[in-house]
Each structure stands twice: as C-alpha cells, then as structure tokens.
C-alpha cells in the first residue's frame, strides 16, 4: 500500500539529480528518508530545525534568487502555524515554491488533535498564487510534482499516508484536470485524493444494483476542474463529494458554488465535521466513524442522495 511519506523522497531525489535549483528544507522530519537526496545533491538539503515559520520564510528567500525550494514537515505546523509566511512571503511577493506535507486530515489519528489538519485546503485556497494538489499514489505525486515544481505558484502537496490504489494512465494525470474514472447517469461521485478508494468500491457495489455512477476523481483542488464537474452535474443532477477535509472550504464548497449555476442540483458530502476529533485510534478507525469507507458512502447515497 502506498505511503507517500516514503515515496516523496524518491520523487524529489529524481528531480534534484537533474535540476540543480531544487533545494529541500525540512523541519526535523523524514531526515533519514532524504539521505539519498542529501548525498547526491550536496549542499541542497537542510534539516533546519523545529521552526516552521522561519523555514517557510527562508524558502521564499531561496525562491527570490532562483531556487525551487521544497519545504517538508507535518501539515498543521506549516499550514496553520506558518500561514502568514505562506501568505506574505510567497503569495504577496509572487514567489514560486513547494510545500509537501504529511499528516493532513487525521492521518495521525493516534497522536491527537494537535497533529490533525482538517482545513488545509480551506485555508490555503483563500490565497492567490497557490496551487493545491492531493496526489494519492506515487505516480500522481511523481507526475504532478514534475509538472509544477518549477512554476511561479506556491504549490502545496498534501501527501497522504494511504493511497487510493487505483492506477491511471500517466497521460491522464495533469495538473488542474479531473479524471473521469467511469461514466454513469444516476449520480455523480466526486472523490478527492485517498477517498477514491471508497468511492470506487461503492460505485462497483451500486453497479451490481443497477445504479450507474459518474465517478470523478480530483487530485488538484486548486485550480479545480469545474468544467468536468459541471458537465457531470448537468447530467445526473445529484452529487456526493467525498473528501477527508473539513465541511467548510473544501471541494464540497466549490461544488456547491458550481451547482448554483445550474438548476435543481442536489449536493451532499462526506466531510469532516466542524469539530475536533478528540478520539484516538487508527486512521482506519476514524474513517469508519466518519463514513470514509464503502459502507459509509453507500449509506449516504441510499439514505440521502437517492431519496
């Protein structure tokens, strides 16, 4: 099973070998995983310390003189603690750069709420000059990082602990483009990142029951492929968004806005409620509790979407 924390060092290593402008700064995590990069790209790897705002700000300084910085640490400590550095030092100054986080949503379920980050997309999507990417397989991270790491945007990669286990043709994986996983007529499922797995399993079960699902996969949250979603909504008139993100400000909100341009669209979501999840347990425990699983998706569809 894919764990992008293990995979992302390979991706930056490969890019670093061919591009001398790639520099990696970490906040004292993944240090050993990045030793290959450190060895082969001398002088371009720094374990700065536990000071995330300063790391983000330093990355902007590197960007200012032509480097393509990658900042890596745990999602809440970058997105929430260092939000102003992202806003001012990257976005306001129109500097490009990259952030690769782990520990978004409740990947670190067992560590408690200080290590959860439910609203990264909501916060960052308020900023101009930002791209939000949620690759949920090695191939997606590899291709999407390659397509964006040296552009003029601050590109945020939410690297999940678990992948969706679905393979796509490389030519189908393009920044800003949704993937039409399957076509259907009865309802639209918009699956974001890892939750493609649950959505696909639910769609397969529904097919056996004679219900056809238009399944759209989102790996780029900003810019969102509104056109593909809109086309599907026009066809099915019913939509369920499944995303490991807070109820406000994620893809569900964006789909609601898209639906406002159309007539009589019913939109629902399986999202993270607007509360701290104070439980402990595993990622899988949290998924079952919140409905991020085949059963949860089917229940939502039968009890709300298709009524």
């Amino acid at each position: 099973m894919s764990n992008l924390r293990n995979d992302f060092p390979k991706v930056v290593h490969e890019v670093g070998l061919r591009d001398p402008n790639l520099v990696v700064l970490v906040g004292d995590i993944s240090h050993y995983r990045l030793q290959g990069f450190a060895k082969d790209c001398p002088g371009r790897y720094y374990n700065i310390g536990i000071c995330e705002p300063t790391i983000v700000n330093m990355a902007a300084g590197l960007s200012k003189i032509g480097f393509y910085p990658v900042v890596h640490t745990i999602a809440p400590f970058i997105v929430e603690r260092s939000f102003e550095q992202i806003k001012i030092d990257f976005c306001y100054q129109k500097l490009g750069g990259n952030i690769i986080t782990v520990g978004s949503a409740f990947d670190y379920a067992y560590l408690g709420c200080t290590h959860h980050c439910y609203n990264d997309f909501a916060l960052l999507s308020t900023l101009p000059n930002v791209e939000l990417v949620y690759p949920a397989s090695y191939e997606e991270l590899d291709l999407l990082f390659g397509q964006t790491y040296n552009n003029e945007f601050l590109t945020y990669f939410r690297a999940p602990m678990y992948g969706h286990e679905v393979s796509f043709k490389p030519s189908d994986i393009t920044i800003g483009k949704a993937i039409q996983v399957q076509e259907g007529e009865d309802l639209t499922l918009v699956a974001v990142g890892t939750q493609l797995k649950s959505a696909k399993e639910a769609a397969d079960a529904l097919k056996e029951q004679g219900i056809s699902v238009d399944l759209i996969y989102i790996h780029t949250v900003k810019p969102l492929d509104a056109q593909t979603i809109k086309k599907s909504l026009k066809k099915t008139k019913k939509c369920l968004v499944i995303e490991e993100h807070g109820i406000f400000g994620g893809v569900y909100d964006a789909v609601l806005r898209i639906s406002q341009e159309l007539d009589e669209i019913k939109c629902f979501s399986i999202s993270i409620p607007n509360d701290f999840i104070r439980d402990y347990g595993t990622y899988q425990d949290f998924c079952l509790k919140l409905g991020f699983c085949q059963g949860g998706v089917l229940k939502k569809i039968k009890e709300e979407v298709l009524i």
Partner: protein, 270 residues
Amino acid sequence: MERREEGILSNNIINKDLRKKIIEVVYGAQEGHITSSFSIIDILSYLYENILKFDSKNPSWEDRDYFILSKGHGCVALYVILQKYGFIREEDLKQVSSKNGILGGHPDITKVPGAEASTGSLGHGIATALGVALGLRIRSKHNKVIVLIGDGESNEGTVWESALVGANLKLGNLCCIVDNNGSAAQVLPVPEMQKKWDAFGWETYAIDGHSDQEISDVFSKIKFEHHTKPKVIIANTLKGKGVSFMEGHGAWHAKIPSVDEFESALKELS
C-alpha cells in the same frame, strides 16, 4: 565580541537633507512613520553610499548586494534613499500612499524597484535574509546580505528562530543590523541585546547608529565570508533623531505633523 556600552549618542546630526525629505514625504502623504525612519536613515545612507553594490537601472542585477528592510514601517527612509540613487523618481515620492502611487505605508516588491522584501508584518525580513544568504552560498556567490530589524521587532519569535538558524548554518555572508531605538522598552523590553546575539552565536558589534565614523569603522571590520559566524550590529539609535520635539517615544511614532510642526521641523533641519 566587541562591546560598546549603550550611552549618550552623538549630538551631531547628519543627513539633514534626507531627513527633510522624509518629513516632506510623510507630510505630503499624510501617512508614515517619521521617527522610525529617522532612526535608520544614517545607516541606510552609509550603506547605499559605501557598502552595497547595486545597479539602479537593473535592480535585479544578480551580482548586487541585498539590503532587506525587515522593519517595513521605516520604509520612507528606504524610499528617499531609493530616489536618491535613481531606483525611483521624485514624482513617486509625491504619491506615497495615493491611489496612483507605487509607494505605500510598507514596501511591495512587485511595485518598488530596489525593495527586496514586502515587509510590514514584523519578523519576516530576517528569515528571508537567511534564505537569500543560504542560496548565495549554495551558488558560491559572494554578494553581501544585510538585513535591518528593529528592537521592537525583536519581540517576534521568528527573529530568535532566525538567530538560531543563522548561527547554526554559519551564514557569514549575512549581517543583521538592529535599529536599537528603544521601541521595545515601551512594552516588552529586550534587555542586553548584544549579549543575547552573542549567546546565540553571532559575531556582535555595537555602535552609535547616527555616527558615520562608527558605521564606517564597523563595516571595515566585518568580513562577509561563507561558513563563518553571521554578524550583527546593534545600532544604538534615537527615535526621531534630528528634530527635537519628535525625539523619543510616544505620540510621534505615527503622528503626522501639523503645518506649524512641519515648518518647525524643516527649520530645525536647515
């Protein structure tokens, strides 16, 4: 560590014309921080005249030295310097904070040629400077990096994160100047500033930030060399230095002079 006890600063007032221009800009804009600009203007003037390499016709010249004004509210001092050296026009100074102007109450690098960081929220410029200094070292380049922060700004945690990181990375091509004008003492004092930076592992100096001679002397000692201690200059300064009724703390931090005060200030600086 070279130590100079804080004490009575020189009574001599230099750069009177630049001070007059700062007052004219702020009076014209009806916005700005005169006294915060006065405490740094002598340092900026010396840096641009004697230390920094730049090409005002090509502000992004890659061999330039980098000056980052971390205490962005002192930007009127930077603006009058940038105008003096040809980065911006006299006309720009007359449109500070106006709808058609490129100069605001804090600098925006997307608009201001020669400004190296969009500062204003305190505690950012110094970390930007670390990144620039590190990047230049990666490229084996020898451009100087100079960042100016305030003592009030030194209440911010990122200043001390940066102090740790700069020393740990041995960013010897970086010099931080602390405009030690006593602002912090109004609310949250930062006592023994020089000892603190010394303890963080920087090569420290203390000077009278209004003395051309002392500014000159300190820069004759500083070597901008990679893999050495970063440098910090505690520049003891006086907020509002140069106009008697503005000096010190209190109302004049962001006050706009009346007509009478404007004329009195210009008279003092004549």
